[in-house]
């Protein structure tokens, strides 16, 4: 299975150079060594929480007269609007989690546009199986043959975290898309 392949490092591709990590030591519960005995995932979601949100950019005027963009909950989107899918993950357990792979099928009626600024760029796929950078992917052309893949062709985005997620650590990943 492909997780094992990742573990032995045979899959090339974008690995996260830096994962925003906020270590939160748990008093009285030192993190077990990486070679510790396997612990069954905690019931009800396991040792990792993953929250999915749909947001839109909103211009907010600042006191100094400038405006800045903030992400707010998308409750009024119409075709053509740019939306940002935000995934927040957190290690709620007591052990480090390795080989994190976060996959997000592009929802129906949504067209992928790119990684969100501030978030690591995802690997993308046009078939849900082969992942890579968009420029390296090809799709069947309507006129026969193959053509370079376009953002509209992306069906799944994926991030693989390069380093284990420590207990209590969390991070956020996001991609931009547009409502068809």
């Amino acid at each position: 299975m492909f997780l094992r392949k990742i573990a032995v490092g045979t899959v090339a591709g974008a690995m996260l150079a830096a994962v925003p990590v906020v270590a939160k030591p748990t008093p009285g519960k030192p993190a077990p060594p990486a070679s510790g005995k396997p612990a069954p995932p905690a019931p009800g979601g396991g040792p990792l929480s993953l929250v999915s949100e749909i947001k839109i950019e909103k211009r907010v005027p600042a006191a100094d007269g400038t405006t800045r963009m903030v992400l707010v909950k998308a409750d009024k989107i119409v075709p053509g609007d740019r939306v940002v899918f935000v995934l927040t993950y957190r290690n709620t357990g007591t052990q480090p989690l390795g080989n994190l792979v976060l996959a997000n099928p592009v929802p129906r009626n949504i067209a992928y546009r790119g990684g969100n600024p501030g978030s690591a760029a995802p690997e993308v796929s046009v078939d849900g199986k082969t992942f890579g950078t968009l420029s390296g992917l090809r799709v069947a052309a309507a006129t026969g043959g193959a053509r370079a893949a376009l953002p509209d062709d992306v069906t799944t985005v994926r991030w693989r975290l390069a380093s284990p997620l420590a207990a209590g650590a969390q991070g956020q990943l996001a991609f931009q898309a547009v409502l068809k």
């Binding site: 299975m1 749909i54 998308a74 075709p79 939306v83 994190l100 409502l179 068809k180």
Partner: protein, 324 residues
């Protein structure tokens, strides 16, 4: 409606016989032009749902989890386009004026139409031109009650007729036909909470969810007239007069006869540039150069010489400019 202050009409009728004076009126019409989308728009009320999947190893075990499923309802965008069908001159003898209404929003929407012509008794009845032939057939075409269309699916184009209630009712200077979305209209971005399809909000789109077209009535040829209308097409497909938008001007001249040296001049409005090769006379292209054909165009303006007319005639000059 894009009422730009700089749109003025200059008319130069030269050597008009019999000392006739020509009253030119400036008429502004917004005719949104349908711009095909790259893909079908998501319909109002559709849920957008997202669920992410995550796999990881914990202490040697492979674990897969899923995120919550987040759902956002697609709001209803209210947009409209209104255009004239056909180019036949509207005269007092006209009994039906053919138009085309397009639901450019992404929801099921009904529209209300109204007409005025500057007189106390404008034509008031609208009918669906079921067979699209531009003529009213009481047996087949369907009168609209109160000028209100049935709900139209997104993208639907509805051929309509504005009908004369009595003979010779198209007797105004111009016929103004306006339409608006029943749910609401106004400034783009205006929100009608909870009134969209599927219980979501309705939001006014770039067209303001209202449209107006002005069709001149070509008067009795003994009087003569020059009427100018415009339509705007912005790069985003809307009718907003923004930078890069193309304005199409239509000058309809009703010329009495006999006339000599009849000529139409119109300057290019400040802040715009003539679109080369866009000058036409009665749908035939005229070259921009001052050469053997009747027209010429430059950065300053267009000119079309109609010469000597022995019979009353109606001529249509069209040209385009781009807003800088």
């Amino acid at each position: 409606m894009s009422g730009q202050g700089h749109h003025s009409v200059s008319k130069a009728w030269r050597d008009i016989p019999f000392g006739m004076s020509f009253a030119a009126s400036v008429l502004l019409a917004t005719t949104a032009i349908v711009c095909p989308a790259a893909y079908a728009e998501t319909e109002a009320g559709a849920p957008i749902t997202n669920t992410a999947a995550l796999r990881f190893d914990v202490a040697g075990q492979d674990v897969a989890i899923r995120s919550n499923t987040v759902t956002t309802l697609v709001a209803e965008r209210l947009d409209i386009a209104l255009a004239r069908r056909g180019t036949d001159p509207i005269t007092a003898a006209t009994d039906a004026l053919a138009i085309l209404l397009t639901n450019r929003g992404n929801g099921q929407e009904a529209f209300i139409l109204a007409a005025s012509d500057g007189s106390a008794t404008p034509p008031t009845r609208f009918a669906i031109d079921v067979d699209g032939d531009g003529r009213y057939d009481p047996a087949r075409d369907q009168l609209l009650s109160g000028g209100r269309t049935p709900p139209l699916a997104p993208g639907t184009q509805l051929p309509l007729l504005l009908l004369a209630d009595v003979a010779a009712q198209f007797d105004g200077v111009q016929n103004t036909i306006s339409a608006r979305a029943v749910t609401g209209s106004g400034g783009p971005g205006t929100i009608f909470a909870g009134q969209g399809d599927g219980g979501g909000d309705a939001i006014v789109g770039p067209t303001g969810a209202q449209a107006q077209i002005v069709v001149p009535t070509v008067g009795n040829a003994a009087q003569g007239s020059l009427v100018k209308t415009q339509s705007v097409l912005a790069p985003d497909g809307s009718a907003r007069a923004t930078s890069g938008a193309v304005i199409t001007y239509t000058l309809t001249a009703s010329v009495p006869a006999p006339s000599r040296g009849v000529r139409i001049d119109d300057p290019i409005p400040a802040g715009t540039r003539y679109v080369p090769g866009s000058l036409t006379l009665d749908a035939a292209t005229l070259s921009d150069g001052a050469d053997t054909d009747a027209g010429s165009a430059s950065a300053d303006g267009i000119a079309v010489a109609l010469g000597t007319l022995t019979e009353p005639a109606i001529h249509t000059v069209v040209f385009k400019v781009r807003i800088q």
